[in-house]
């Protein structure tokens, strides 16, 4: 729902243009934001504290609700700026919105989307090996789901921390048929959006797409609004189709992810390492947006307080549209 990863936090039902009926324009107002900070050499910086960041939405400074660095436990930020772990069960329950569990931000929910269409015929087994390697290398705290697609999506392995489940699902993939990459990516994002906590979708594909009915940029908008970075792992095959490779780059950068184009599927080590580093070194914060009349695209920026010399680079999604709650 909306810019969050879980069910409605504070919602408001508005009324239609001129109808007495509610029109389901539910505004979900807690935002989950993941970002990374690197120095000029590209080295991840993971020692920052909440007070080091200033989050702005359309230029309006936001008050942080929770903070998590890498795979460390999520901390609730109290009014006085101090932090305490977000715990469940027993004792006083910190207020972080309904349905939020303490382990919701521990680790990342990784949705692997594997292209098994005819376009991947030649690289199918190598890509399968590469994905298996990638899954094995994920942090223990991460959960992973493996989806495959050609003309339709197949949920080969549901989200789980059990790597065997994921690899068994992966190894049962059936190759062949048309490629509906963007349709399937949309469905994967819709699934991911239902899961609390931080999540990413990692697409393994060489492109192109010959069967989707949705446009990549409409899918990208969903990812932006849901706060789900898309990583695309591809090979130089993809560059034969300039449109696909361009779309891959745009999808990734606009959602806070990255696109990688190794020479072959066997040579994805670098990409995997980079993604794992991204996942392990990213910050995840949540906040309830301050009043903002803008119901369209809200621009997000993350500033580092006291970064006088602009030594650091923050990679964050550019913004989101408040949910209409369809």
């Amino acid at each position: 729902m909306g810019a969050l990863g879980w069910s409605v936090a504070r919602s408001s039902v508005t009324f239609g243009q001129d109808s007495s009926r509610p029109t389901f324009r539910v505004k979900v107002d807690m935002v989950v934001l993941g970002f990374t900070v690197t120095d000029k050499k590209g080295k991840y910086q993971n020692d920052f504290k909440p007070a080091d960041f200033r989050i702005l939405e359309d230029g309006i400074v936001q008050k942080l609700n929770t903070f998590a660095a890498g795979n460390k436990p999520v901390m609730q930020i109290l009014d006085d700026g101090t932090m305490r772990p977000l715990a469940t069960g027993g004792g006083e329950e910190p207020k972080a919105g309904p349905d939020v569990k303490s382990d919701a931000f521990v680790g990342t929910n990784v949705f692997v989307l594997f292209d098994t269409s005819n376009y991947m015929y030649r690289g199918f087994v190598y890509a399968s090996d590469a994905i298996a390697d990638f899954v094995r290398g994920l942090d223990r705290a991460d959960s992973v789901a493996v989806y495959t697609f050609s003309r339709n999506l197949n949920r080969a392995a549901e989200l789980s921390r059990d790597r065997n489940d994921a690899i068994q699902g992966l190894r049962k993939a059936v190759a062949g048929d048309d490629a509906a990459l963007y349709n399937s990516l949309l469905l994967a994002l819709r699934d991911a959006a239902k899961v609390p906590g931080r999540k990413v979708v990692i697409v393994f594909s060489n492109g192109p797409d010959n069967a989707s009915m949705v446009a990549p940029d409409d899918v990208r908008a969903v990812a932006e609004d849901e706060g789900i970075p898309i990583y695309v792992i591809s090979t130089s095959e993809a560059s034969k189709d300039a449109i696909s490779s361009g779309v891959f780059k745009r999808l990734a950068t606009r959602t806070g992810g990255k696109a990688y184009f190794a020479k072959t599927w066997q040579k994805q080590v670098e990409a995997f390492e980079s993604i794992r580093e991204d996942l392990g070194n990213s910050y995840t914060i949540t906040y309830y947006p301050q009043n903002n009349p803008n119901e369209g695209f809200r621009k997000i920026s993350v500033e580092i307080v006291n970064d006088v010399g602009k030594k650091y680079l923050v990679r964050v999604r550019p913004g989101y549209r408040p949910s209409r709650g369809f």
Partner: protein, 1122 residues
């Protein structure tokens, strides 16, 4: 479900006598509160578990509704009756035998049969299947497990064993070979190459599995693991130990390993842990008709195992396919009398047309019966009395034309068959369809090429006087052929047409055109206009028919709209065509597009209102005319807006909208189906679903547009501007900001290539209404311009309402692409003139465009939307085949019919039919007389060969198998034919059918059921009005793929009605449930090929059983436990 009511009933009425409980249950049942009735009965039974009278009442009730608890309660009843030595026990024991057999529970059936016999009953013993295999079958081995082979050969793992070789044959014939690049021969496709390679790998693995037929790796470092990994195409990365990883070393082998489903992940885990890996790798024995030797006799050279030779010979595959479709007795006689090589030469004819060959007592059963036998014998050149010789000739005579003719005439019955098989006509029409040059015959292509022949014979109408119905008159058809509007159809026919005098002349010409491979426009015209006449009390005037015929090429897609009701006058139909012409003549493309879109949207609303009876049939004509005619005079955008707004008001008024009602809310209420429904929950859900789509598409409400239009008029009269009214529209437009900025140069160039025309959307994005209104002040002319600017907005609202109305279950595009509605292209590519043509999906799979969109008119919107959204359905298993044509038709059939007007009695009426036939089938296993009658009736609706097979299975005691091979629509048809006799025999379900027919004749009659539970058939009947035609399920046909097959599939709603009955779901709840059930059904289809309707049937039944079980469990949980 209203279980809660039960507690009140029980609590409120205290202790009731059994008869009182029965009466109350019946009253509830008649009110449609069957769930409450059930709960009351079950609670009563729970309180008095040994009361035979109560148990009887409950058991009969449950049986009437096909409740999953029926056997349980009946069994308890029989036990008590037996204990009491009641004379009634035999009757109920026999009923239990039938239900046991239907459930496949043979031992229970035997037990209850013994009780039945002990009570004095006479019946044959419960037959026990001796073998799963039919008598004519042997087995042949293929290497490896069937699961792996099925994955590689694209076969459904749910296929019955006897169907594996025919299904494989079909895949080989349709997908196994392609024309070679280097010569005129055929070469294997990639699909077949992989099957061949898999067989080779499976043999290697079989060797590794050894005598034990088990692949066994005891430890990581061993020769077996090395051999196995080599065969699988993998190697270990790193040495044995916790870090070992399997990686590809031979890509083609590794591909087979994964694609065939070898448990490579489990192997990897075992190696890593250095523990035992075991995998059964036994060869699979699959049934083969007549044994391998017979088929290999058709091979000139023989080498290798059967499976290798089989897949390397597509003609042999086709022979197997053809022979497996034949009546077993006939197949046996053909096998005995005709050399296999000769049969192989005509395998294509047997494959397509052999299923309709029928033999009885050695004699061929021919269409037309005794009166036509001599003529059939003359045409074939062999006597009908010698069936093998006769069918040999029919098959081999003229490359399939006679077999095709025989097939088409066998599929029909009644007056049309009588007319066509009158001996002189039989010969005359055969000569027409056969022509002089017979090659290529209709069985040569991959799809049957006798589509037109099948459509002509199955859709022809014959009047009570025995003459065929010719729309208009003969002169119209004569003129069509002589003064053909778009070039000659056929030189000879054009010449002959001037001499036509009678109906037979026209029909002969249509037969003659059926053999042509080109577009058969006259036949399509004939069928479309015949279908329009079929619904009408008075046939169309000849002038109307003439115009419809001449404009067919451009406007035929609109005829289904004109066939929504038989109540349209000739004047309205002609007026509709005039309006089309007027809109087509508008030169400005944007204005034309708005006019066409707006008119189509209004007509779509009219269709829905007529279908849902918001507009009475008697008013339909006047309302359509009033809605459409203003567009004939409109030239500019302002006039078009006025025409559109007047149409909205006309439609709302016709649907009895109160004066001050909100037009937008009212329109949504009406489209949802009922304004003041008894079942507010279902209605609210449907309204909410509609609003979600409209919100996602940023559609402007009718109220906002209407208020603004009115305000503009007031401003013209000097009123003061109310900015709020303008803001409601302009605010909505401001939401049209698309997330599509920053396309790359390559993408922009690609867009320019032709798919992208967003002028309509761009206009709305740039429209600054407030500024326009302010600048206009009180100047009437400028305010007129503002009103003109509202035309595209009103168009989108009306089109959006239609998109929402037909939104398929599981839709995604409608909620992801915010301009999907606005991007509907009413013009099409330049020169394509698609404005009035069928709705089509374009733009799929073009990553840089705005996504797919719909082009053309709105006539086929329900189908096109379902087609666009179908790939978002997620198959429940990894290898599901989503059919391109079947799924949209299934979804359309779930969305168009609405069940607000359907009564509980109608649901029960359908359910009783299905249940009565099923019970008859169960009884047929123990009663040869019932079996013979059942099979005779069934053969009128199912291919005779299948009907006979069902009879054979029943005789062998394979009741469940027989049950799985009869479709719900066939069961329904059998019950229609048999209920009278069954009622005379005392069948309680048949008696209940009869009771309902007498108690509620307006509801429980076949015409009403056809309307309530029929499916729309735009191709087959040229109408979206739901109906049951009870034609035999069509095969896939050239030019239509599986679309006509899908339209002839009438089982879904009939089956869902029976599910609703036994799950105690009300008809109004079906409005919400049926689309969901359809979605579940589609997601579970695991089919092998386009004609694999048994896969659809399996999926549907699985969904039905899940729903029944869930409802049953809910019933138990709610207190009605038994």
């Amino acid at each position: 479900m209203r279980f809660l009511l039960t507690f009140c009933l029980i609590g409120c009425f205290g202790v009731l006598s059994a008869q009182e409980i029965a009466n109350r249950a019946r009253q509830l049942e008649e009110k449609g509160q069957t769930g409450a009735a059930r709960a009351m009965l079950m609670a009563a039974v729970k309180d008095a578990p040994n009361d035979a009278v109560l148990l009887t009442i409950a058991a009969e009730f449950l049986d009437r509704h096909g409740d999953p608890s029926t056997r349980e309660v009946l069994s308890r009843l029989v036990t008590i009756l037996e204990r009491n030595n009641s004379a009634e026990r035999g009757k109920f024991a026999k009923r239990l035998v039938v239900l046991d057999m239907l459930a496949g529970d043979t031992s229970a059936a035997q037990k209850h049969m013994a009780i039945y016999k002990a009570a004095g009953g006479t019946a044959a013993e419960v037959p026990i299947p001796k073998s799963e295999l039919g008598a004519d079958f042997q087995t042949v081995e293929i290497p490896g497990p069937i699961r792996s082979f099925s994955r590689m050969a694209a076969l459904s793992p749910d296929l019955p064993a006897e169907d594996i070789l025919p299904a494989l044959a079909r895949n080989i014939v349709t997908n196994g070979y392609q024309a070679a690049n280097s010569n005129e021969g055929l070469e294997q496709t990639e699909y077949l190459k992989l099957v061949v390679r898999y067989l080779s790998q499976a043999r290697e693995l079989s060797k590794i599995a050894g005598e034990a037929k088990k692949i066994r790796v005891e430890q990581c470092e061993s020769p077996v693991s090395a051999d196995l990994l080599r065969a699988l195409g993998y190697r270990m990365r790193g040495g044995c130990g916790a870090e070992v990883v399997l990686e590809t070393v031979n890509a083609s082998r590794a591909f087979l390993t994964i694609d065939s489903g070898f448990p490579i992940a489990e192997l990897e885990n075992a190696l890593r842990a250095n523990r035992l890996f075991e995998y059964a790798f036994e060869p699979t024995k699959i049934p083969i008709l007549y044994g391998a030797e017979y088929w290999l006799g058709a091979r000139e050279k023989q080498s290798g195992e059967f499976i290798d030779q089989y897949i390397s010979d597509p003609q042999l595959c086709r022979l197997y396919l053809g022979m497996s479709k034949l009546d077993r007795e006939l197949a046996g006689k053909l096998k005995a009398g005709i050399p296999v090589l000769k049969l192989k030469a005509f395998s294509h004819v047997l494959d397509f047309f052999g299923g309709m060959y029928t033999i009885k007592d050695g004699k061929a059963i021919v269409p037309g019966g005794a009166k036509s036998e001599a003529m059939w014998a003359e045409l074939a050149g062999a006597p009908v009395s010698d069936a093998p010789a006769f069918f040999d000739k029919v098959t081999s005579k003229d490359d399939g034309w006679m077999a095709s003719y025989f097939d088409s005439l066998s599929r029909i019955s009644g007056p049309v068959q009588d007319y066509l098989t009158q001996p002189d006509r039989l010969k005359r029409f055969y000569n027409a369809v056969r022509g002089k040059v017979t090659s290529p015959g209709p069985a040569r292509p991959v799809f049957r090429a006798n589509t037109d022949l099948l459509l002509l014979t199955s859709r022809l109408r014959v009047a009570p006087d025995g003459k065929p119905h010719i729309p208009g008159n003969i002169e119209v058809w004569k003129q069509l052929f002589v003064k053909h509007p778009h070039g000659k159809y056929d030189g000879k026919l054009t010449k002959a047409a001037s001499g036509w005098k009678e109906a037979d002349d026209v029909i002969e010409a249509l037969f003659a055109l059926c053999r042509k491979a080109v577009e058969n426009e006259p036949l399509k015209i004939f069928m479309a206009v015949s279908d329009m006449d079929r619904r009408r009390a008075k046939p169309l005037d000849s002038a109307t028919v003439d115009r419809l015929a001449r404009e067919f090429r451009f406007h035929s897609s609109q005829y289904s709209i004109l066939n929504e009701t038989g109540a349209l006058s000739d004047a309205t139909i002609l007026g509709y065509l005039d309006t089309i012409a007027a809109i087509t003549a508008i030169r400005d493309q944007g204005v034309r597009s708005d006019a066409a879109g707006m008119m189509q949207g209004l007509v779509g609303v009219w269709q829905a209102f007529v279908r849902q009876r918001a507009i009475a049939d008697a008013d339909a004509d006047a309302i359509l005319s009033a809605v459409v005619s203003p567009f004939a005079k409109a030239k500019g955008s302002r006039e078009i807006f006025e025409a559109g707004w007047s149409g909205v008001q006309t439609l709302l008024k016709a649907a009895k909208t109160p004066e001050n009602a909100n037009p937008h809310d009212r329109m949504i209420d009406l489209l949802a189906g009922a304004v003041n429904p008894d079942d507010a929950d279902s209605h609210t859900q449907m309204v909410q679903d509609t609003i979600r789509v409209l919100e996602a598409q940023r559609v402007i409400s009718l109220k906002a547009l209407g208020d603004l239009a009115t305000h503009l008029d007031e401003l013209g009269k000097g009123a003061k501007l109310d900015p709020g009214i303008v803001t409601r529209v302009s605010g909505r437009l401001s939401e049209l900001q698309l997330p599509r900025a920053g396309l790359s140069g390559v993408e922009k160039n690609a867009l320019l290539f032709g798919y992208w025309s967003e002028r309509h959307i761009e206009f709305q994005r740039k429209l600054n209404l407030r500024s326009m209104v302010e600048r206009a002040g009180n100047d009437a002319a400028k305010l007129g311009d503002v009103k003109a600017a509202l035309a595209p907005l009103l168009r989108d609202t009306l089109v959006g309402l239609m998109y929402a109305h037909y939104a398929p279950p599981g839709a995604q595009i409608l909620f992801t692409n915010p301009v999907f509605v606005r991007s509907h292209d009413f013009l099409g590519l330049q020169g394509s003139q698609q404005t009035w043509k069928q709705t089509e999906v374009v733009g799929a799979g073009w990553p840089a465009n705005a996504g797919g969109r719909l082009v053309g008119s709105l006539a086929g919107l329900s189908y096109a939307l379902a087609e666009a959204e179908q790939n978002f359905l997620v198959p429940s298993r990894e290898q599901a085949l989503i059919w391109g044509d079947l799924v949209p038709q299934m979804v359309q059939s779930a969305k168009i019919p609405r069940f607000w007007q359907v009564t509980p009695a109608q649901v029960q009426f359908v359910s009783l039919h299905l249940r009565m036939s099923e019970a008859m089938l169960g009884e047929a296993a123990i009663d040869p007389a019932v079996r013979s009658r059942f099979v005779d009736i069934l053969s009128n609706y199912a291919p005779p060969a299948r009907a006979r097979m069902v009879g054979d299975w029943l005789a062998e005691g394979k009741v469940k198998k027989a049950l799985e091979n009869v479709t719900p629509s066939e069961f329904y048809a059998v019950a229609m034919a048999a209920y009278g006799q069954q009622a005379e025999n005392g069948d309680p379900l048949a008696l209940e059918i009869r009771r309902l027919m007498r108690a509620v004749p307006q509801e429980a009659n076949y015409a009403a059921i056809s309307r309530a539970f029929g499916s729309p058939k735009p191709t087959l009947t040229n109408s979206y009005t739901p109906e049951l035609t009870q034609v035999r399920t069509f095969p896939t046909l050239m030019g239509y793929s599986s679309r006509i097959m899908a339209e002839s599939w009438e089982s879904n709603l009939l089956y869902f009605a029976s599910v609703a009955d036994s799950s105690y779901i009300t008809p109004s709840q079906m409005n919400v449930a049926v689309p969901e059930w359809t979605k579940f059904t589609v997601e579970r289809i695991f089919a092998t090929h386009l004609e694999d309707w048994p896969a659809l049937l399996r999926s549907m039944r699985k969904v039905g059983e899940e729903i029944r079980t869930k409802a049953n469990n809910a019933g138990r949980a709610a207190g009605g436990t038994e």
